[in-house]
Every structure is written in structure tokens, then in C-alpha cells.
Symmetry: C2
Subunit: 349 residues, 2 copies
């Protein structure tokens, strides 16, 4: 097989060769007259596999030279090629994508002429930023046309981790809330309910706080939630004076700068009937139960982020890995006008 | 049992009561005349357990009142008390510590009169900073007197995670290194060795890089290491010009701002005979093998940090949890004049 390197394409002129390359793997773009045009990604791969010879002005082009040419022509070629190569080796038909994505991938056994695209693939370097907003736009674009968005993140050594992204709609079955008003004392970082009956009532209805002997200890966020719902009256341990919801929120925000952000997600999850506890042990904001946390394991780990959040990919990789390791789902709770949830899962395509 | 609240202590005057409290759990500090002085931590706990009644000016003091008094007197009482209470309930004898730590803890079954201290315990809020330098000083102080330093980190809900800290001395068995000089091409984020024999030689001796077909792909850090050891000559893919070690380090640092820091740790580990690969999938800098990475699992996850590193505790919690979940040890490689390694493990005391 021989193709001719012409600028940023390789042209296979021989009709028999062209149709053989196209029919076995759907490489290239058939042209009038039976020619086949290969893009440099395809040509590099076919050359690497020994399925194609490439010539320029009559001389053979080495793999190293074609790679360098492709790197000059295609943006982030090096990262894209690693992903292209991997998907091809897994048996998928992969074609370049004209829009915001790198590749269109067809279902296993499917072809560009017989099947709709299954995945839209973004090839990303681990050094690129994880930009939540841009990413959500792309996901919505994919979901509108019923494609699955696959993120192929290439690490420093060329290993690929695939992430599948989707929106999540967590929902729980707990509707209990402590009925009446109770009173608590704000000490340093926590709130205590010293009256044992009150303590037990608040703890049992909605699983708020933690019993320490006969005393119930509430976290800042639980307290803020109860206070906003008119269920707790607070006094300062130091001064004995009443603390208003505004005053409490101010103090809590001093202790925890992202308090308001967390509270938005906490409140949203609580209102969806979920039981929400701290995710400290997992290095995220919340662990979330669909019902009684004493009877079941937490299903979700949730991290509250602003809707314009961006971070480095190793952060995301770590969060997903950790959740996977403890058999929970990681959700990013994006706080905008409302709270939306993004689920990221590691997958093997 | 009755004790009298006097400022920041509770005094048990009755000799029989005093000795009973002291002998069962070594609470308090025996005074001349058979009295026993309890600190407010001890008195609060004994009151909570119903083993002590506390009076002030003849009137009974409620648990809520004693707690508030203790919170006024003892710094971070609320966090310390949660840890004190937990260790006591696990059956340990716990005494206040005069120096930089919160508690001295005796071995199980041991007493202040019969046994040396086993643990020095620091009670920390998850909201406190993890300050590596201060922490190393405390660890060395503990190790000099053969105590184990235990960090008790209290989360928002009052749950405690115990961490044991120690110095680590990782050592490997790989002494191979690619013998002669080779040449590579710098493309975007990676370096390629296109000559197949050369590629295989570099890959096999020391497990550098990753074979992509017949091409070896080296990471930036591997390349810098090989270049510093005079084992690779580099050319730019774009210009074809030679790249000096200084020029390469400058480019790599642009792509990865903490490149020099990582390289210090990479080099130190390589020189200790370990095989070092990226830890991207685990959200840390390196995964480290004691020998052939194709035959064994990585033993360590290593994160390179400057020696004056500080971060928030949830970061640390997450790193330790993740390493634990994949059965590896997490080490922090602290880059100062030399590289020291700190190991953090979750323990149950």
C-alpha cells in the first residue's frame, strides 16, 4: 500500500488499495474517482501498524517524520494520537470530529455508514484545566443529540483514564424533621443541645447531629439548616446572648470560608429527602445517605463547587478514584441559581 | 461522690472518695492531706459518666454548666474533650500534657506510676491547618523520647480519625540505568525515541518511559533525569535544534510549575534504587516500585512538597484514605537541603 503525503493529508490513488483501507476499519474519506484521503492521524496510525507506506516526492516517509509533520499540523497531536490509537486498538471505528470534540466513536461493530455515533470523545492532557462550565456546555450538547461524552485524560506517561460524565438527580426517602423548636448553645465550633429529651428528639427525626453521652452535638451546617427552618434557638456559650440566623451565618463563615456554598448544597440535598453527613474522612464535603445512616451505607460523596469552578485534573482524578475505591458515586454539586449535580465515573470503553 | 468547683479545678476533699476516683482510672492529681485535684477535662468526663457530683457554693453543677466553664478555661476544649473521652472509653489512662501536646496516653493496662507514656496525642480540628514544619518538629521531639505521635483529627460531626506519623526510609533494588547516550525528540509535552533498538534499551534498563509501538515515549521528568545524567541528547521537533539541560528544565517548568520540586524527589527516589512512575491516577505525584514494575505492585504513593508546606486537613485525610484504599503507603517527600519522607497511616489506637 502506498499513499502520497500532500500537505496535511495522505492520498491513496490506487482504487483497490483505497477500498481495502476504507473497508477494513473505515479509515479515510472516499473521494470521487476511487481515491481515498487519509488525515494525518489515520495515516500515522496505519504507518505505525505497517498497513500503509507513505511517500513524499517519491521517497519513503519514516514514522518519526510523519509524526513530526502531524504534530505541526494538528493541535495537541501527541495527546490526541495516544487516545486515537487506544480506541482503534480496542476495536472501535474512530473518526475526527469537526466541532468541539476530538473524535466520534461508533458502537462496537458499528460503522460510519450504518450506525449513529456512540461517544463523543475529548482527549485531554492531565495538565489541562478541568473547567466545569465549559465542560457542562459540552455535556449538554452531547446529551441533546443522545451521545455519551467520554473524557480521555492522558497522564504524563501516556496512560489513559476514561471518564464518563452525566447529570445526576439524587433523591432520598427521609422526610422526617424535628417537629418543634429546640434550643442550643454555641460553643467554639459546634452547637450543643444539653436537654436529653430534646437532644434525642432532634437526633431521631432526620438524623441530625451526634449523641455524645446525653448531649447532642450539631455541626455548624446542621445548625444553620435547623435555624433557617425555625427549628432551633441559639445562644452563645460565652455571652449567653441569643444568636440570630444572620449572626450565626457570619460566625460560621468566619470558621469555614466556603460555608455558604456548602450550605446551599446541604439544604438542597436535605430538601430532596437525603441524609447528609460530613465527608471529611473521604476528603470531600459530604457523604450522603438515601435513608437511615445507621442502617445503610452512604451512596454518594458530594463536593460543593461554584458553577464557574475550575481545577487541575489530578484533583478530579483523585476524587473519582477515592469514591470508586469505597464504592460510592462522586457528585459535584454545582451551585448556581439552583444546584445541579454532575456525576463522573471511570469507565472502560 | 462530690467535688467542689474552685476556679479551674474540682477538689475532692473526702479521702476515701479521692482514692477511689484516683485508683480506678488514675483521674486527678493526689494532694497532701489525701485530697484529689481534678482538672476540668477529667471532672467533666466523670460528671458525664455519673461517677462524680460537682458542687459550687453548695449547689449542684449541671453538665452543661461545667462544660461551658471548661470551654472558657481550656483552649479548644470542645475538640480536646471529644478526643479525651474517646481514648478513655477505649480503656486508656489519659493525662493532660504540659508541653506542645494535648495528652499523654499510657499503654493499655499501664498507669502513670508503672509505665512510660506510649502516645503523645495532638487533638486537632479538621479546620486547623496541617503545618508540615511544626509537625516535623513535634514528631522529632516525640521520637527522641521514644513516644509515638498520634494525631487525633476531629471532624465537623465529632468523629475522630487517628493518624500515626513516622519518618520513612524507602529503598529499592533496581540499579540498572541505560548505559550509553541516546537521542530523543521533544514534541509538545513528551520526548520520543524513534530508533527501536535505542528505545528498547532505555526502556529495559531502569524501566524508563513507555513503548508506543516501536517508539519509546519519555515523560518530562524522566527526560530531565536522563539528561542530567548525560544519557540523552535532545532536539526540538519544531526547530530541529539541540536543547540543553537548562533549556529543557525551563520549558518543563513552564508546562508544569512545580517541575523542579518534583524532579528533586524523583531523582532522590531513583538514586535510592526505586522505580518511579506518575501517580496521576491516584491524584498524587508518584507511584513507586521497589523493583520491576511489570512484576510487582507499587508500594508507595509519594507526594513532593516543599519543607514549609502547609495545607488543609481534608487534603491530608483524602491522600491517606486513598492510599489506604489501594493498599499503598502514602509518603510526603519533603524537599529541603535533602529530601525527607514522612509516612502517615490511619490507625485505631
Amino acid at each position: 500500500m502506498a499513499g502520497e503525503l500532500l500537505g496535511d493529508t495522505v492520498l491513496v490513488r490506487d482504487e483497490a488499495e483505497a477500498s481495502q483501507i476504507y473497508n477494513k476499519g473505515f479509515y479515510g474519506y472516499p473521494m470521487s474517482g476511487g481515491c481515498l484521503e487519509l488525515d494525518l492521524m489515520e495515516a500515522t496510525y496505519l504507518l505505525e501498524c505497517g498497513r500503509l507506506e507513505v511517500k513524499e516526492s517519491g521517497e519513503s516517509v519514516l514514522l518519526s517524520r510523519l509524526t513530526l509533520r502531524a504534530a505541526e499540523t494538528i493541535k495537541d497531536f501527541e495527546v490526541s494520537y495516544i487516545v486515537y490509537r487506544d480506541l482503534r486498538q480496542r476495536g472501535y471505528v474512530v473518526k475526527a470530529h469537526a466541532g468541539d470534540f476530538n473524535f466520534r466513536v461508533f458502537p462496537r461493530g458499528g460503522t460510519p455508514t450504518s450506525s449513529p455515533t456512540r461517544y463523543w470523545v475529548l482527549a485531554l492532557s492531565e495538565r489541562s484545566l478541568f473547567d466545569l462550565k465549559g465542560f457542562m456546555d459540552q455535556m449538554e450538547q452531547a446529551e441533546r443529540t443522545r451521545k455519551t461524552l467520554l473524557l480521555a485524560v492522558v497522564d504524563e506517561e501516556g496512560d489513559i483514564t476514561y471518564y464518563q460524565a452525566s447529570k445526576a438527580f439524587p433523591e432520598g426517602w427521609e422526610s422526617d424533621a424535628p417537629g418543634g423548636l429546640t434550643s442550643g448553645v454555641f460553643i467554639e465550633h459546634r452547637v450543643m443541645i444539653f436537654d436529653q429529651d430534646e437532644a434525642e428528639r432532634v437526633h431521631k427525626n432526620g438524623f441530625f447531629g451526634k449523641m455524645i453521652g446525653s448531649t447532642l452535638q450539631l455541626s455548624l451546617i446542621e445548625t444553620a439548616y435547623l435555624q433557617e427552618h425555625g427549628l432551633i434557638e441559639l445562644r452563645s456559650a460565652a455571652s449567653g446572648r441569643k444568636i440570630s440566623p444572620v449572626g450565626f451565618a457570619r460566625r460560621a463563615s468566619r470558621l469555614q470560608p466556603d460555608f455558604q456554598l456548602r450550605l446551599r448544597v446541604y439544604t438542597d440535598l436535605r430538601e430532596k429527602g437525603l441524609v447528609v453527613k460530613t465527608g471529611f474522612k473521604y476528603g470531600c464535603h459530604f457523604r450522603v445517605y438515601e435513608r437511615d445512616p445507621e442502617k445503610i451505607h452512604a451512596r454518594f460523596l458530594v463536593h460543593a463547587v461554584p458553577s464557574d469552578y475550575s481545577t487541575i485534573w489530578p484533583e478530579i482524578s483523585r476524587a473519582v478514584r477515592l469514591a470508586h475505591g469505597v464504592r460510592k458515586e462522586i457528585l459535584f454539586g454545582m451551585v448556581g441559581e439552583k444546584v445541579d449535580y454532575l456525576r463522573l465515573r471511570r469507565v472502560r470503553p
